[in-house]
Symmetry: D2
C-alpha cells in the first residue's frame, strides 16, 4: 500500500509499505476522510518528537473497517467509524488511574505517526478496536466527523482542564482550530464572558460565532492590559491556553484571579523552561492552578462528543476552510497547513471511492 510519510526530519514523500497486520483486538481500516494537523508539521519540520524514518504521517481520520481481530466484538468489516487520534491501552495502569493518554508512559497513548504509522495511507491499523473506534453516526457530515479525531476532543479538553463553572469569565488564548473548539466548549460549559485572543479575521469571526464575547487582538495592544481593562482590573476566572509559547503562561498568570485555573492544550515544542512569574503566582500561595494535558482519547469520548454534533450543540465542520478529494491530495493539504495562508483554518481530504 502507499502512504504519505515523514522520510526524515525536514522531508516528506510517498512510501510503499505492507498493509499492517491485525492483532486479535485490533482493526485495519481504510480512510474515508483525513485531515492534517499542526502536529504533523511540527513532527516533520521541527522534529518535535525526534527523528523518524519513513513513518507514515497523520492521526486525524474517519475510516471504514476492512478487517478485525478475533476478540473484537462491536465492529466488523464495512463499518464506518470515528477514529480517535489517541488510542490508549485501556488495561494499562495509567488508564486504570484515569490517565489513558499516558498509557505505557507519558504521552504514549498517542500512537499514530508517533510510535507506529499514521493514517495517511491506503490502510491503517487501530489498536483495541472496541476501545478506540466508534460507529459513525448515521448522516454525520464527514468533515465534522474528521474533527472528532483531534480538534474537538483537544479543544474540549482545554475547557475540562480549566474546569469552567457557570458564569465564569474565561480567556481562550489562541484561536486556531483547537482554540476555536475550546471557545465552543467554554460556551456550552457555562462560561459567561469569553475573551478570545487572536488576530486572524476568519478565526476571530468564527470565535464570535462559537460563543466568544470579546476578541482580544495583540496587534491592538498588550493582551494583558486589554483583558484587565475589560474586567476592571480583576482578571478572569479561568484560562484555556491553546496557542502561544512558553511565555504565554506568564501573561496568563497576570490576568488570572486567585483560585483560578489555567488549562493548557498547546504542545510546547521548544525552550528549556516554562517561566511562572513568582509574584503574580501569589508567591506560590495564590491558588492559581496550572494544568495541561493531552486529550483523553478512546471510544466513549468519541461517542459523547459525537452526540454534541448530532444534537446540534457544536458545529466543528465550520473549521474546514479547504476541501480536497483523493488520498493523493493529503500532500498539498499538509503543505497548506505548513504554509498557513490567512484564509486557512483547517483543510480536509475526502477519499472518494
Amino acid at each position: 500500500m502507499k502512504g504519505f510519510a515523514m522520510l526524515k526530519i525536514g522531508a516528506t514523500g510517498w512510501v510503499e509499505k505492507d498493509i499492517p497486520s491485525c492483532g486479535p483486538m485490533d482493526a485495519i481500516c481504510k480512510p474515508l476522510a483525513l485531515a492534517p494537523c499542526t502536529s504533523d508539521i511540527h513532527t516533520v519540520w521541527a522534529g518535535a518528537i525526534g527523528d523518524r524514518k519513513d513513518m507514515i504521517l497523520g492521526h486525524e481520520a474517519v475510516g471504514e473497517v476492512v478487517e478485525v481481530g478475533a476478540l473484537v466484538k462491536d465492529f466488523k468489516p464495512g463499518d464506518k467509524v470515528l477514529v480517535s487520534a489517541i488510542t490508549p491501552d485501556w488495561n494499562s495502569l495509567e488508564a486504570q488511574g484515569g490517565y489513558p493518554m499516558h498509557s505505557g508512559g507519558m504521552l504514549s497513548g498517542w500512537k499514530f505517526s508517533n510510535f507506529k504509522d499514521g493514517v495517511f495511507a491506503e490502510y491503517f491499523h487501530v489498536n483495541d478496536a472496541d476501545g478506540n473506534l466508534a460507529h459513525l453516526p448515521e448522516g454525520m457530515d464527514l468533515g465534522a466527523a474528521a474533527m472528532l479525531a483531534d480538534m474537538v476532543p483537544t479543544g474540549f479538553h482545554g475547557a475540562e482542564l480549566a474546569d469552567i463553572s457557570f458564569g465564569d469569565n474565561v480567556a481562550v488564548i489562541g484561536v486556531g482550530p483547537v482554540g476555536l473548539m475550546s471557545v465552543a466548549a467554554c460556551a456550552i460549559r457555562g462560561a459567561a464572558e469569553i475573551f478570545a485572543v487572536g488576530s486572524r479575521k476568519n478565526c476571530t469571526d468564527l470565535a464570535r460565532e462559537f460563543g466568544a464575547t470579546d476578541i482580544i487582538n495583540y496587534r491592538e495592544g498588550d493582551i494583558v492590559e486589554q483583558i484587565l481593562d475589560k474586567t476592571h482590573g480583576k482578571g478572569v476566572d479561568k484560562i484555556v491556553v491553546a496557542g502561544g509559547d512558553n511565555n504565554t503562561f506568564a501573561q496568563a498568570m497576570q490576568i488570572l484571579k486567585p483560585g483560578g485555573i489555567i488549562g493548557n492544550v498547546n504542545y510546547l515544542g521548544e525552550g528549556e523552561f516554562v517561566p511562572i512569574p513568582r509574584v503574580e503566582w501569589g508567591c506560590g500561595m495564590g491558588h492559581k492552578q496550572i494544568r495541561g494535558g493531552l486529550m483523553p482519547g478512546g471510544r466513549l469520548r468519541s461517542e459523547k462528543l459525537a452526540r454534541l454534533i448530532t444534537t446540534n450543540r457544536i458545529h466543528p465542520e465550520k473549521l474546514i476552510t479547504h476541501t480536497f478529494h483523493g488520498l493523493e491530495n493529503v500532500e498539498p493539504a499538509l503543505m497548506l497547513m505548513k504554509d498557513k495562508p490567512r484564509d486557512l483554518i483547517k483543510p480536509l481530504v475526502l477519499i472518494d471511492k
Copy 2:
C-alpha cells in the same frame, strides 16, 4: 408599611407592620419587581413549613436599597439590587464547609417568608447586604432579574447536583419554571440529548427553545418506557428532578445508567418515605448517586448567573407569561400561581413608581 401575608395556614391577607430595622451588616430595600413562587402556595395552603401567623410572604424580588448598616461597604441607598431568595450567614460553620444554604441548620439559609417576613411588602430586610445582594446590571430586564432570585439558581443547581458532563444524555423531570431553567442549564453545561418530561404545551415549547431535544409526555405512555425506548434500553447518564413527588425517584432509578446521578431540586412536601427501588439501584452497588439540595444563594452566585443573562447565554425572562403592575397586585399574581391556568408559567409584578 403594608405587606401581603400568610395569616395562618390556608389564609392570606394584607397586614400593616413596622418597617423592619436595619442591623450593622444589613440593608432595608423596597421592591422594584416581585414574583410569587410555588413555595408560597405550599407555605400557605399545604402548611409545608408549619404554621405562621401574619408572616409576610414572598422571596423573589428585585429591589432598591433604602438603608444600610454601618458595616456595609458595597451598597448604599438608591442602589438597585438583585436579591437572592436564600440569604446565608456566611461566617457559619455550614457556609465555611461549603453548604451556606444550611447555615444555622438544615435549610436555614432560607429566611424570607420562613424565619422572617418576606418581600411582598413596601419594605423588606436583607441580612448581610454585602454577602447577599448584588448590583443590578445596567440595562437588565427586571423580569429576567426577578428570575435570578430563585428560578435560575434553583434550576441551575439541579444541573450542578447532577454533575452534567460533555455529551451526557439527561432527563429533566418536570418543566415548570424551575425545570425549564434546569433544561437551559443542562444545555449550556454540555448535555447532548435532553429528555424533558412534561405535558403542558407552553412549557414543553419553551423547553425545546431552551435546549430540550425530546419531549416526554406522560399522557403518551409510561415515561420510563418512552425514555428507555429512545435510548435503546440504556437509559440516561444523569437526571435532574424538578417536579413530581416521592415516587418520581423510583422512575428515575429505572432510567439511570450505573455511575449516573440524580440531582433533585424539587421540594418534597408530603409522605413519610422516598422509596428507592432496590434492584434498579443495583442492590446498593450500582453507583447511582442520589443528591438533592436547596440552591446555594448569596452574592457571588447572583453575580455569576447574572453574567449569563448579560452575555445572552440564557433568557429567563421568557418564563414570564403574566405581568402585573403595582404592589397590590401580588395578591392576584399569587392566586394565579395557586390556580395554575394552562397558559401560566410564571407571573411577575412590577412595582412602578
Copy 3:
C-alpha cells in the same frame, strides 16, 4: 480438575470440570490461598444472584500463574499473584467512564462465581491478566494478600464513597470484615471520631484497634440516639454502611448532617424498596448524598492497596480468625462462614503444596 460448587440454590458440593482454557489476554492460575465470603453464602443459600447449576464458588484468592495468553506482557507461569475479586473489561465504555465494576452492565465486572466459575478449584481463569492481576509483593503474608481480593478494596471503597475529609466525624455501620476495613480506611483517610456500630466483642475490639474511637452497640440502646447523644445532637459528617439492611439508611439519615454523605458497600439482598425518610432527608433539599457501589477492582487498585500493607499502614491479616490447610477445607471454611460462630471474623484456607 475438582472444584467446590453451588449445585443449585441451597446446595453445594464438589464437582469435576475441565481446566478452563486461556484466551490471548488471560491467565490460568492455581490457588495459594482462598477465603470464603458472605457473598458466597448469599449466592448459595439466599439465591441472591439467581439460580446457578454446578458453578464453582469463591472470588477471594491469592494465586500462582500456570498459563498466560499470547498478549499478556507482565505475567508468566510461576508468578505469584494478587487476584482482584472484580475483574473488569478495561476497554468497555463503563470502564472508560470511570466505572470498571459495571463493565458490560451493572455489576458485571463481578465475574467469579457469578458469570463464570470461581476460584475454589484446582485452577481458575482470570480475564485480562495484565489488567486484573498484580504481583504478590515479596514477603507479604498470604492471609493479608487474600484480604486484598475483596475485604480491603470493598471496605476502603466505603470510605471513598463517603468522601472522608480531615477531621470528619464518621459512623461505620457494621463491623464484619468489610466494615472493619472501612474503619481502618476512615482512620487513615483523616477521620477524627469514628463511631463503629456493632455488638460482637472480637469485632468491636478489632474496630478499636483499627481506629474506632467509640463502639455503638445496638444492644445498649437505639443507635441513632446513642450517636446523637455523643455528638451533642449534631450527628456525623459522613457514614459508611457496611452492614444492616434496607432500613439502615433511615437510621443513617437521622444521624447525618446536612452536606453529609452515605457511602454504602453492603449488598442489599432483599426487599422491594430502600426507604429514605423524607423529613430527615431535608425534603429532598438537605444535601445528604446517598451513594453506594461495588468495589472498583483491577490491578492498579490491588497494587496501591498492597502498598498500604507493605508500608504497615493497615493490617488486614488481623481479620483472620480461623486458618485451614488444603483445598478440601474450603468446604468447612465456607460452612463456618454460614454458621458464623461468635469468634469468627474471617476464615482463610492455605493451599499448601
Copy 4:
C-alpha cells in the same frame, strides 16, 4: 499595652500601643500561648511583605477572650480559644467562591502582622470572632493548640492540594515544622511510601515518627536520583512542597508521574520566575498539575483539625523543641527562629499568669 514589633525592615523592638478597639463582630483576646514563625523572620529581615513601621508581629496564638462585639454569638469574655492565623472575611466574594484565604484580594485573608497588628502583644484583635475563633477543647495541651494556628493547617493544606489518594507514593520536600505536619497529613490521608526530603536529624527522626517511610538527604546525593532509584525509575504519585526555593519545582517535576500533582505550601520569597522544565512537564501535555496556596483558615477548619488532636490522630506538640515563659520571651523565641540552631524545630512561649 506593649507589643513586640517590626520597627522597620531589619529591626525589631517593643512598642507601646492602645488596646485595639472591638467592632460589632470582633473579639479582643489576650494570649495564653504564642509561637514565632519563619514568616515573622521573612517579614522583618527579608522584607517579604514590604516595609511596615512599628507593626506588632506574630500570627500564631492561643488566646483568652476579653471582649466581644454586640453581634458575636458563640464567644464571651473568659473563653479560651484557638485563633486561626488566617482570618477571612467570610461574606466576601472570594470566600463564597471557596477561597476564603484570598478574601478581599490575593492572600488578604492573612491579616495578623500583615494588614494589622499581630498577636505578640498583651492584647490582639480578631475580626469576625464567630467565624475565626474556635473553643479550646478541654484538656488540650497549649503547645498542640498553638500549632493549630498555622503549622497544622498549613502542613495539612499541602496534602489537600496534592490530593493524596489511598496507596499513593508521595514525596514531601522540606521537613521543617510545616513539612513535618505535611508528612503526618499524608500518613493519615492514605499515602503508602512517604519520601521525606531533609537533612536535620531531629526533623528526620520526627518525620519517621509521623509516618515517613524513607528519608532522602540531599547530603547523600541528588534527591531526584535517590527518589527515582527507590521507585524503580517511576517517580511518585504526588508531591508536597514545604521547603526549598523556586528551583525546587524543577526537581519535583522530574520525579512526578504523569497525572500527578504538586501541592505547594512554601512561601516563595524571591526571584522573578519559578521555572518549570518543559520536557519533564510533558511539553505541557503530561497532566502534571501545579498547585499552591495559603491555608484556608477559619473556625470550622480549626475545629476539625483540633478533633484530630483530641482523637490522638496527630501529635503536633512534638514539634516544640524549646519552651519559654512570659510575653517578654517572644523576643528570644523569635531570635531562636532567626538563628535556627540545629536542635530547633519550633519554639513556644507560654504566657503564664
